[in-house]
């Protein structure tokens, strides 16, 4: 969203026990879906407070959309026909996931920390461990194709103190609460961690329609049926020749 729409900065005060801390802010706390919606960019920016001079920092910014149970279906041949043969469930998987960093993840942390802190798409594709490797790969590949799972180790620009990263929300973005988690590493050790959230929601006409359709179901259905009558009659009245 537009930076001018308001620098909705969430100020997080540093804790006295740590030398470094993170200050995170978002270009927008409310992403609204209106009739011209075609996706949006949310910029995450901020600064490292009280950095130790000369120390190299790696920052990983993970943005997670609402959790869903994702199912990966695999087609197989049964009696000559290609039908769904296997379903692999990924409970509590983020419907949207963007992992941005200023350095490759395996250079940032050790594999154990990577798993513990859940850094990178592969950690989320692990699911509950029941899914086969092929299904995990397919989940990452297909979600990436739809722009829903993104991993970019050049996604964070880091000046000596200021950083910023752009989270691309595609047009098929799920809505709800999105959590942005910034994890600051130095020498493969976590030195600071902050989270901030934003919401993606329908607004205006779109929100009203969805709300009415959900709450006043019968009235909405009868209304649409009435529209059908109106359209059908209008077409007949306009085009009749006899």
């Amino acid at each position: 969203m537009k930076l001018a729409a308001g620098l909705a900065a969430l100020v997080v005060f540093s804790t006295p026990t740590r030398a470094e801390d993170l200050l995170l802010a978002l270009s927008s706390l409310d992403v609204t879906i209106a009739s011209n919606w075609a996706g949006a960019d949310v910029t995450v920016f901020g600064t490292v407070r009280e950095p130790i001079p000369g120390r190299a920092y790696q920052l990983v910014i993970t943005t997670r959309g609402p959790a869903e149970t994702l199912v990966v279906r695999e087609k197989g041949r049964v009696a000559g026909l290609w039908v769904t043969k296997k379903n692999s469930r990924f409970p509590e998987a983020p419907s949207f996931l963007s992992v941005l960093s200023n350095a490759p993840l395996d250079e940032t942390v050790d594999p154990a920390e990577r798993t513990r802190a859940r850094l990178g798409l592969a950690e989320y594709a692990r699911g509950d461990g029941s899914a086969p490797q092929a299904a995990r790969q397919a989940l990452m590949r297909l979600q990436a194709e739809r722009g829903l799972w993104i991993e970019d180790d050049e996604g964070v620009s880091f000046d000596p103190q200021l950083f910023h990263a752009t989270v691309h929300l595609p047009s098929n973005t799920p809505f709800g609460a999105f959590e942005v988690e910034g994890m600051l590493y130095a020498d493969k050790t976590l030195v600071a961690r902050r989270t901030i959230t934003f919401r993606v929601a329908k607004a205006g006409f779109e929100a009203k329609v969805a709300d009415v359709a959900e709450r006043i179901r019968l009235g909405y259905g009868v209304g649409v049926a009435g529209l059908a009558l109106l359209f059908g009659w209008a077409a007949s009245a306009m085009f009749r020749r006899d």
């Binding site: 279906r73 197989g76 290609w82 649409v224 049926a225 529209l227 059908a228 077409a235 085009f239």
Partner: protein
């Protein structure tokens, strides 16, 4: 020109959807069918969720059919009594179809069932119509009008006979109720109005004059789809009014031109074209089922999550 669909939850190109609706509306007006078997796959292809596609196209089919009903009513070419009997069977068939639909969805094989059903139903009807219409076209002279009531079949021996004056038939209500039920069942499972099943059945089995068949079929489709619109809205809240309005606008205009073109053509020619169309759609589903898919995987959000 993009617009956001509030229930389908995705932006679509208005002109693309309008164009699709025009084309399907044209076909629908030309053959006196709803066109659901074309629109459902098209909408799913552009990314609309299956449930929303099926539900939002119901009001469009209703609107198109209503236009047709008004036109045929002016020509006195609707047999309301026949339509009523078919609808009576249709209610039972639809209920059974919805039950079967949920059973298959829970078994996780809905896509395959739908694809196989499309291939069998569309392939069989299309094949039969292709053979019949080609034969009719091959004959030099116009075919002699079919003798009525000369050959007695088992259908003629069934009880509860009813006289349908406008259709000029005198048959038992039982096979008509069964036909209505069968169409209702397949309609609920496949998300289609079922006109392409009803028209040939009435023409070939019950020998209703083609002129009356189209109007009556449209009447049956109209009532079924009005009910389906309200049902989808109340059970799943999956009717997208913005999508439905784009579809209705395109469908209503397209149908007008379709009706005109249809009236200038011979019945056999129309049936041959419809046969080819049905076979093409069936072939598309058959290819999906039998050819090795480029991407064997797909990702979906688990049912009931929303």
């Amino acid at each position: 020109m993009q617009t956001y669909l509030p229930i389908a939850e995705l932006p679509v190109d208005v002109l693309l959807v309008l164009g699709m609706a025009l084309a399907v509306g044209f076909v629908s007006g030309m053959f006196g069918i709803g066109g659901g078997f074309l629109m459902t796959p098209l909408l799913i292809f552009i990314g609309v969720p299956t449930a929303v596609a099926v539900a939002s196209e119901a009001p469009q089919i209703a609107a198109s059919a209503f236009t047709g009903v008004l036109a045929y009513q002016r020509k006195q070419a609707i047999d309301f009594k026949l339509g009523g009997v078919l609808l009576g069977g249709g209610v039972a068939g639809t209920a059974l179809g919805v039950w079967f639909f949920n059973l298959m969805r829970d078994a996780g094989q809905l896509d395959a069932i739908i694809a196989v059903s499309y291939v069998i139903v569309l392939g069989a009807i299309g094949g039969l119509m292709l053979v019949e219409s080609t034969r009719a076209l091959m004959r030099k002279a116009p075919p002699p009008s079919k003798p009525r009531g000369v050959k007695r079949t088992f259908v003629d021996r069934l009880p509860f006979k009813m006289r349908f004056r406008r259709s000029m038939i005198h048959v038992s209500a039982l096979p008509l109720l069964a036909l209505g039920a069968g169409v209702g069942f397949l309609g609920a499972v496949l998300g289609i109005g079922g006109g392409f099943l009803l028209v040939p059945a009435l023409v070939y089995v019950f020998r209703v004059p083609t002129a009356v068949v189209v109007g009556t079929s449209l009447f049956q489709i109209f009532v079924t789809m009005m009910a389906a619109t309200v049902m989808h809205a109340t059970t799943n809240a999956s009717v997208d009014v913005v999508l439905a309005m784009i579809l209705m606008l395109g469908g209503a205009i397209g149908a007008q031109f379709g009706v005109r073109v249809g009236q200038t053509m011979k019945g056999e020619q129309l049936r041959l074209l419809l046969a080819l169309l049905l076979l093409a759609v069936a072939g598309r589903f058959l290819a999906d089922l039998t050819l090795t898919p480029i991407e064997p995987f797909s990702v979906v959000i688990a049912e009931g999550a929303r």
